[in-house]
């Protein structure tokens, strides 16, 4: 327990931890503030004005379609070449119906908590996962590269206990930042919705769904923190984790993405890690193959689809953590420290 407390102290004393956490929280705060100032509360006057604008738009569309139909018939009578500008049957040129032009198109942006908050949890998790990854890598990487780990092992020779205690302290520290940040994130967007949008239609089911997405976000943060920690421990340097992630993202993801796209591989995104991170947060990501055509009863051409589910993502995340952390523990136990 004393080692755990000491490692927590060490983590909180490090300037890098403090600055990175502060930076992450400032970015999150900036997102909330940005959303606050780019949204407005909709009142009855604005709704009426939007209806008027929708009417106006409808009238313009009607006028325009009549003009075009007349021009089409004129061109057809005169036998003038239209270069495919008009259809063979001019009666096909019609204005959209009034209900197809929605008044909401003419409303200023407003924050509907029920409709939009779920999406905000994705950047929340992504930003804190990045912060966790870098802090995790630096926490153990700097210890290795400055000789701190060796000093500690002279005091506590049980290597696995030391490494796992450090990881436990790191995850506790990250959780101590993430959980209050999540509460503030909920509160911040609730305030945004209250003053710049709507908090209507919030049922217990919606709250439950948000909570579950939030929990998945926190898990993602902890998983990436662990991976950053394990990679840096494996390479015994912070740069190992940072270099590793750059290599994976640039070569393994962008490069692979381009290659798969050139090879016209079906559902190329299924090979890319961000797809699984997104599926973890949104429960399902549906990939579409636009090169295929599944004819519907009405003659429409629908692309083939493939669902990536959060369960599949959980398997990938679990395997990733087990393999990378397992390798770090094995190296800690077996490799000489010099």
């Amino acid at each position: 327990m004393s080692l755990f407390r000491t490692e927590l102290r060490r983590l909180s004393k490090r300037r890098f931890t403090r600055y990175m956490s502060l930076l992450g929280l400032l970015v999150l705060a900036a997102v909330v503030v940005g959303v606050f100032f780019t949204n407005q509360k909709i009142d009855a006057g604005q709704l009426a004005r939007a209806e008027r604008q929708a009417d106006q738009q409808y009238q313009e569309q009607v006028r325009w379609s009549e003009q075009e139909r007349a021009a089409c018939e004129q061109a057809k009578t005169a036998g003038t070449a239209t270069d495919g500008r008009y259809p063979d049957d001019c009666s096909m040129i019609t204005a959209p119906s009034r209900d197809q032009i929605e008044a909401s198109w003419f409303l200023p942006s407003t924050f509907d908590f029920k409709e939009t908050f779920d999406e905000t949890l994705i950047p929340f998790a992504a930003i804190l996962a990045l912060v966790g990854f870098v802090i995790g890598a630096s926490f153990v990487g700097a210890e290795w590269s400055t000789g701190g780990m060796m000093n500690l092992l002279l005091w506590r020779p049980k290597r696995l206990t030391v490494l796992l205690t450090k990881l436990a302290a790191l995850l506790t520290g990250i959780l101590a930042v993430t959980l209050p940040a999540a509460v503030l994130w909920f509160a911040g967007f609730w305030a945004v919705a209250t003053f710049r949008g709507s908090t209507e239609k919030m049922t217990s089911g919606v709250w439950q769904s948000f909570m579950l997405t939030g929990v998945r976000g926190v898990v993602l943060v902890l998983v990436l923190t662990t991976i950053g920690f394990a990679l840096a421990s494996l390479g015994r340097h912070t740069a190992m984790a940072l270099g590793g992630v750059v290599a994976v993202m640039v070569v393994g993801q962008f490069g692979l993405g381009i290659l798969l796209s050139m090879a016209s591989v079906r559902f190329a995104e299924a090979w890319l890690l961000p797809t699984y991170a997104l599926a973890w947060m949104t429960k399902t990501v549906t990939l579409q193959d636009w090169n295929s055509c599944n004819a519907t009863y009405y003659g429409e051409c629908k692309p083939a689809t493939m669902d990536i589910t959060w369960q599949q993502s959980s398997v990938l995340l679990s395997v990733g953590v087990v393999v990378i952390l397992g390798a770090a523990l094995w190296a800690m136990r077996r490799r000489d420290i010099s």
Binding site: S2, L3, R5, T6, E7, R9, R10, K13, R14, R15, A142, E143, T146, G147, G148, M150, N151, L152, L153, L154, W155, R156, P157, K158, R334, D336, I337, S338
Partner: protein
């Protein structure tokens, strides 16, 4: 006296596809008795640091037996780690923490009372600079901090690798006094150093390692005596008598090296033999001086690392124990 540190037949081999196999430790033996200040000497690359790292569980040995404070290590390291203070090689600390933070975190990890931090800071002379970041410290100050970190546990066995590195002359003297004081208080100190004069002054006993094997060990006086060459310098009343003296001494089986105004004799058991021999030939000695051997010359002789004009000795170029024309270990086997 009971042994606080015992090493028997320790082996460590590094294998590399490019560089082949290298035996860093090749059946190394060592013993340190309680309450001693023990010098651990060896040329660069001879295996000193590898020995200490292996002993402290940082390196996995390929063979041999080790014990600290009567417990077999590495298995019993968690039991004895609290009683062994050590610094290995150059002092390394997280540069952005202050000395006080560094020691305080170590004390926390080792469940040492916080008050001990102030005690060791005082002891190594860093009390007034303890609030400064380690990155602002000179090498000598880092060295003091390293010694402080090793002393933090109030250990029974203190292992210091090159503790005088970077210290100013005053610091070296303070370190010497500190080692002595600690030994007098009952602490056993193992000191690895290249400053052989210091070792000779401070240490009760020494172990000399070369190419991963022990080449000498025992009390400092014994090691010096065992490697004394029996060299004697003589001068005669008349320089013109030197050739006659050379002839007489050579006939008596003494190795003589001539110099313009004196002779150097080797293999002389009793200096009185020389005066008697020469007096019988009516040659009268005006000066007869046994040449005292020091630890440095013993070290250079045993490790074959004395500089040779015009040659550049490479690391690892030193003697192999039992090689042709080389002396064997000064002492007996394990536990002697």
């Amino acid at each position: 006296m009971p042994a606080v540190l015992e090493i028997e037949g320790l082996r460590k081999t590094y294998k590399s596809r490019r560089r082949g196999t290298r035996n860093a430790l090749d059946g190394f033996d060592m013993r340190v008795d309680a309450g001693q200040v023990h010098g651990f000497l060896g040329p660069n690359g001879s295996g000193k640091t590898t020995t200490l790292r292996t002993l402290l569980g940082l390196i996995r040995p390929d063979g041999g037996r080790m014990a600290l404070l009567g417990h077999e290590v590495p298995d019993a390291l968690p039991t004895v780690a609290g009683q062994v203070g050590a610094i290995v090689e150059s002092p390394q600390f997280f540069p952005h923490f202050t000395a006080r933070d560094t020691l305080s975190l170590l004390a926390g990890a080792g469940e040492v009372p916080a008050v001990r931090v102030d005690e060791v800071l005082e002891l190594v002379g860093l009390r007034d600079r303890s609030g400064e970041r380690v990155k602002t410290y000179s090498l000598g100050m880092k060295q003091r901090l390293a010694v402080a970190s090793a002393l933090l546990k109030n250990p029974k066995l203190l292992i210091l690798d090159e503790p005088a590195n970077g210290l100013d002359p005053g610091g070296i003297r303070e370190m010497r006094t500190l080692m002595r004081t600690l030994a007098e208080s009952g602490m056993t100190v193992v000191l690895s150093s290249h400053i052989l004069g210091e070792i000779q002054l401070i240490c009760d006993s020494v172990t000399i390692i070369s190419l991963g094997r022990r080449v000498a060990f025992g009390a400092v006086d014994e090691v010096l005596a065992q490697h004394s060459s029996g060299a004697v310098r003589i001068r005669l009343e008349a320089v013109s008598d030197l050739p006659m003296a050379t002839e007489a001494l050579t006939e008596a089986g003494i190795r003589v090296t001539g110099h313009p105004d004196h002779l150097m004799l080797a293999g002389v058991d009793k200096p009185a033999t020389v005066t008697r021999l020469l007096a019988e030939k009516n040659l009268y000695v005006s000066e007869l001086a046994p040449i005292a051997v020091d630890l440095e010359s013993v070290f250079l002789e045993l490790t074959a690392t004395a500089p040779v004009p015009g040659q550049h000795r490479q690391v690892d170029e030193s003697m192999k124990v039992g090689g042709t024309g080389q002396p064997g270990p000064a002492g007996g086997g394990w536990g002697a």
